[in-house]
């Protein structure tokens, strides 16, 4: 009976507060999801062209791919950040609650982003830029190739997973 009264009280409070369905994260945007999927295909094609060894003499053939991929990632980054964040005050409280249950340190991370996919895409651009510079200087050889490829895949997975998760 006590539990039933608590449920009724909770219902009353919910009604009093509006009992609203709410959005705590940005809305799903199919154009962003599509843009990331396209970038993924282009990135995979670049690494296929690099293969297990990329001599510096052939960098010129790869440069257009670098330029294209970085440009399309910069474009999708703007689209990601252009979406409004619903209920920023509520979001701040949710983030504090997450930290309290040991999803720790997120609110003290100076680069913490309410758009996690934006952070992943920006990080991906940095890696690809460093990779292009290294390729231009001396080509890409041995462990340096997976050294760059693996973080790109990691960031791509973060961004695509988050954006697809917004489809709710």
């Amino acid at each position: 009976m006590r539990r039933a009264r608590k449920v009724m009280a909770a219902c009353a409070v919910t009604l009093a507060l509006g009992g609203c369905q709410t959005m705590l994260a940005a809305a799903y945007d199919p154009t962003i999801a599509t843009a990331l999927s396209t970038a993924n295909s282009d990135i995979q094609a670049l690494f296929v062209s690099i293969g297990t060894d990329a001599p510096v003499s052939t960098f010129g053939a790869r440069k257009p791919a670098y330029d294209h991929i970085i440009a399309e990632l910069d474009a999708v980054l703007i689209e990601i950040k252009a979406r409004p964040i619903p209920n920023p005050e509520v979001l701040a409280k949710v983030n504090q609650a997450l930290e309290a249950v040991h999803v720790g340190g997120i609110t003290v991370d100076p680069d913490f982003s309410s758009y996690p996919s934006a952070r992943s895409v920006a990080d991906m651009v940095k890696v690809l830029t460093q990779m292009e510079n290294a390729d231009q200087q001396a080509g890409l050889h041995k462990e340096l190739i997976p050294g760059f490829e693996q973080p790109v895949i990691t960031y791509l997975t973060q961004a695509i997973t988050y954006e697809n998760f917004l489809k709710r």
């Binding site: 009264r5 449920v7 009992g19 709410t22 462990e143 693996q150």
Partner: protein, 112 residues
């Protein structure tokens, strides 16, 4: 017009929330496991590259710093996924409550 049974309502709310949490926990566990494996593999690659001389100098410095950022970005993403999950769980509960109220009152209230 039917009476609202609080006990049954609690069970319905719990079922809706558990179902949503269950789906999301599976998805989040899969994501976290994959990410941690990728980050660990990256650490091994950098170490191998340091040994064979293919990852040195500026590239080594950059990739080591990036490894730390990968981990922070992973946590940021996981937190973001958890926020979306919390939203879905909350909305599932609100939906069940509203349906129960409508059934009990005979009204057709929409969830605001």
């Amino acid at each position: 017009m039917a009476a609202l049974d609080p006990g049954a309502l609690v069970a319905q709310i719990e079922a809706a929330m558990t179902a949503k949490v269950g789906q999301d926990v599976t998805a989040l566990e899969g994501f976290a496991s994959e990410q941690l494996n990728q980050i660990a593999q990256e650490a091994a690659t950098i170490a191998a590259g340091a040994l064979d001389g293919s990852i040195t100098g500026d590239n080594q410095t950059f990739l080591l710093g990036n490894l730390a950022e990968e981990t922070r970005s992973f946590v940021n993403t996981l937190a973001g996924l958890a926020v979306v999950s919390a939203e879905e769980v909350w909305n599932a509960a609100v939906g069940v409550i509203w349906a129960a109220i409508n059934k009990a009152t005979g009204l057709a209230l929409t969830v605001p």
